[in-house]
């Protein structure tokens, strides 16, 4: 029986692999591997915590659990903008911890196999580029895939 459950779990994981949630910041389309995402919630009251980098908007109450929220715009070094009804929080699981990402708008879930994805060019300096795992072209649309590990690296250990 345990073998069966293991297989089911593996199948489920395999299902998620290669699929990406796309979202927009301004007119740029970004993707995050579905594997990392636990849910998408609407914008809600955020309690600010002093003493954190500006891109930490604070913490929210997610059904009794407290989760920190990061504004992706600020993390990527862009201008902050007022939240509207399209603004969403994508809850991401990283190293067994939950973090929310504020994005302008969630777009779609798309499958991308390896052939579609190209490594990002080594352009160096700009903030944001160093978080990318690949750049894909899906149906004529350019998607910048964010590497979650890299994205949160500065917030996780080691110091």
């Amino acid at each position: 029986m345990s073998i069966d459950t293991k297989n089911v779990a593996e199948d489920a994981l395999a299902d998620l692999r290669g699929r990406y949630l796309t979202f927009f910041i301004d007119n740029t389309c970004y993707g995050i591997e579905l594997l990392y995402i636990s849910e998408i919630i609407g914008i809600q009251p955020i309690t600010h915590i002093p003493g954190l980098p500006a891109y930490f908007k604070g913490i929210i109450n997610l059904r009794g659990k407290v989760a920190p929220i990061i504004d992706v715009r600020l993390k990527l070094g862009q201008e902050e903008r007022a939240y509207d009804d399209k603004t969403c929080i994508i809850m991401v699981n990283i190293s067994d911890m939950q973090v929310g990402l504020i994005v302008d708008m969630v777009a779609d879930v798309v499958s991308m196999d390896d052939a579609l994805r190209n490594p990002p060019p080594d352009s160096g300096a700009r903030t944001g580029d160093r978080y990318l795992s690949s750049i894909a072209n899906v149906a004529g649309k350019v998607v910048l895939n964010i590497d979650c590990e890299k994205f949160f690296q500065s917030d996780l250990r080691p110091y």
């Binding site: 309690t47 003493g51 954190l52 930490f56 913490i59 009794g64 407290v66 990283i94 911890m97 939950q98």
Partner: protein, 686 residues
Amino acid sequence: MAIDPSMEPMLEVFIYESTSLLEQLDEILLEAEKSKSFSDDNINEIFRTMHTIKGSSAMMEFTGISTLAHAVEDVFFILREDSSRLGSVGEQLFDLVFQASDFLKTEIESVQNSGEANKDPSAMIAELKHLASIMRGEAPAAAAPDAAPADAGSQPPPSGDPDMVRIRVFFEDGCQMENIRAFMLISQLKELCDKLESIPANPESDSTCCSEIIKNGLLLDLKPSGSLDDVIHSIENAVNIKTYEIVEDAAAPSAKAAEASAPAAGGEPAAAKPAAAPASPAASTPAAAAAGKVKQSLVSVNQAKLDQLMDLVGEIVTSESMVVGNPELRGLKLDNFHKSARELRKLTDELQDVVMSIRMVPLSGVFQRMNRIVRDMCKKLDKDVDLVTEGGDTEVDKTINEAIGDPFMHMIRNSMDHGIELPEVRLQKGKPAKGRVTLAAKNIGGEIVITISDDGQGLDTAVLMKKARENGLLTKPESEYTDKEIFGFIMLPGFSTNKEVTEFSGRGVGMDVVRQNLEKVGGTLSIDSKRGEGTTFIIKIPLTLAIVDGMELAVGNSVFTLPITSIKQSFKLSDGGQLVTDTDGSEMIMLRGQCYPLIRLHQIFGIDTQVTDLADGIIMQIENSEKVACIFADELLGEQQVVVKPFPKFLAKYEIKQMGLSGCTILGDGSISLILDANNLLSSYR
């Protein structure tokens, strides 16, 4: 060997019981080793412990455990007879018994994890036997009790007495209380016999032998005073007897009989039965019965259930606040409602206290384990170290208690291995040859502060710096590093100052793991060290699961909770008190002739608010054991009980606690309030 599902609950009890027994055993051994002798009480206690483990493990069919326990029991059996025999083996005995205790612990752990115990203790048993034979004198004469293994086979009716008869009696199925029935039968038969012994012995005092009697029957070795027929007749007439048989060939009884044999051997003159071993696994002996009597009225509870209970209580507290503080009730005159609400509040308070107290366990258990580690390391490292523990009665939450065991072990090992020098070196340095590691716990203002200090060589900042440089860990010019920051290096992953990896430390994972484990329960670790004088690790663990009474303070759009315990008073500036500004421009409040520093919450937390004039807001005077200060907020919202939640682990890198915030809490309306930490506020903003 798979465990029968029906044994599952028994397995849990077995694990629980054996673990606590083994812990006791360690305690006794350490004590005895210090005084280099066993008191009679200690010997009996160890004997009983081993006997119980032997019995219960045999019942669970863990033969490895039971045979080893048996071998240890044998050794202590000899000691019990004549404790002076300890002299002939001395230290060796302690080492061996400690090893045996460790073996049993790992086996029980493996039982817990996989339900199996397969390691072979035969080497250890051989050593124990060897030891036993030394203790008995070079030639283990027939006069000494033989330490032969349990399966020495049968227990024949004492030979040389042809009148002895062995009778096996089975009671009716399901007649219950077999032990009592056995006892009744025995007392009846006693009148008819010159000599009567039963297996199990003393069934009346131990109800656990019921199953044994059901399985193997009651064995009676008797010598009838009249004819055997009288006895048989009496058995036939006794109530609830299903069958009986006279075991003719005592030399070849069934395997079952062997298993059930000989509990009484311990009490019998050993000379009479050279081959009889105090063996019987599941059967009970007087010793086991005595152990049963001291059982306290304790219930062991699954921890997950306790966690759930705690969560539920937290929810109740929150929803109670939601009901009582419901905005829809505002402006209504509800005398009865408020009376009932107060009653409810009183009950929830009580409930909370009880639940909290259930979860609290003293630290002494963890401290005790450290004694053991220090002892072992002393031997292996040839160092002489005393472990001094203080405040073992400090109580912490169970989860915390579990989480800090490993970190303590690492830190003590570090202190012993790297900190304390060899005795010769210590003498050269003018220190006493005997090193000292102090483990002290204190409860200070809602935080448990535990210090682990040694009087060893201390940390060498130069070496640490060099190592950090080699590993490329430096992020700023070397001269800018403070001592504290340099000490902090040892908590980085992969950082070890020991040149060689030893059995105990040097791989550089230790302190990193320590820090991570402590952070899991919201604790912090700091290091203080003086070259040549020693190192101190300071651990601070908040009472994370606590529910606190707090005052809600509004500052701009934010709500803060200030624990009531740290509030001295609250007042408005207009009530008296005066703003004073010193030469640096820092503000102070003059109150009844005393000056207190003023902390403006909106300023230190960078919050936009309309209320910046002291006269418009509220001033709370806060205190800890050392200092008093005033904090300024916009408005006092009221009192509420809140459940403290730690900040998300994700934010662990940022030292929010240093900002004067100890955690957060979810208010009745679902919004989050940050909990102010008076200690940090007082120390960081002067």
